[in-house]
Amino acid sequence: MYVTFSPIDVAALLSAARPSDGGVCLFLGVVRNENEGRETVSIQYEVYGPMAEAEMARIARQIETEWPDARLAMQHRAGRLEVGEVSVAVVATAPHRAEAFAACRAAIDRIKHSVPIWKKEFHPDGSSEWVDPTRGSGDRVIEPSGD
């Protein structure tokens, strides 16, 4: 499963390297304490589960086709996460580092671009809003506290 409600086991993902792999590139997305100048206390990740699984599998196949020497392992969290928790982990292993970096970077870029996952940020005053990466700062729908 690519999507999990439990903490991501980064060590398990890293252990996917094969004996012929000399390079391992890991990317972790971590919940930050602020976004566009506003303090964040936690984030709720909502996932369209079956489609997210299919889309992440498609991305993995696509990347292993484009970088045939690379192998990917990745997971995305769902549910409520506190600051400092890992929201997404991508590991790309390859014989050499150039492919490992390129495959890892492409994977996280494509995850953010197309996997149906949404996040609602919660602030210290109890207010929250859905994050819309396609809009500029200050243009987001602010929802009332307690939503």
């Binding site: 489609m51 809009r135 729908v141």
Partner: protein
Amino acid sequence: MRVNLLYFASFRDAAGKAEESRELPDGTRVGQLWHSVSREIPRLAAFQTMPPAAVNQKYVDGETVLRDGDEVAFLPPVAGG
């Protein structure tokens, strides 16, 4: 024919529900369904163009013809990572 329509995140808030079943004329296209939905839900009418749409968990374009039993979702801007 009937399709099952799913709402996520801000669209779920706008629709006030997570899913609904809709009876549609045979041959209805995804873009036509969006046209109906966005007229009914004022906060979705603000979208100038159809947002990304999925049928049976795959991205499709507005020309896609719906079939009985399809699972359809219009997706707010994704924000994974």
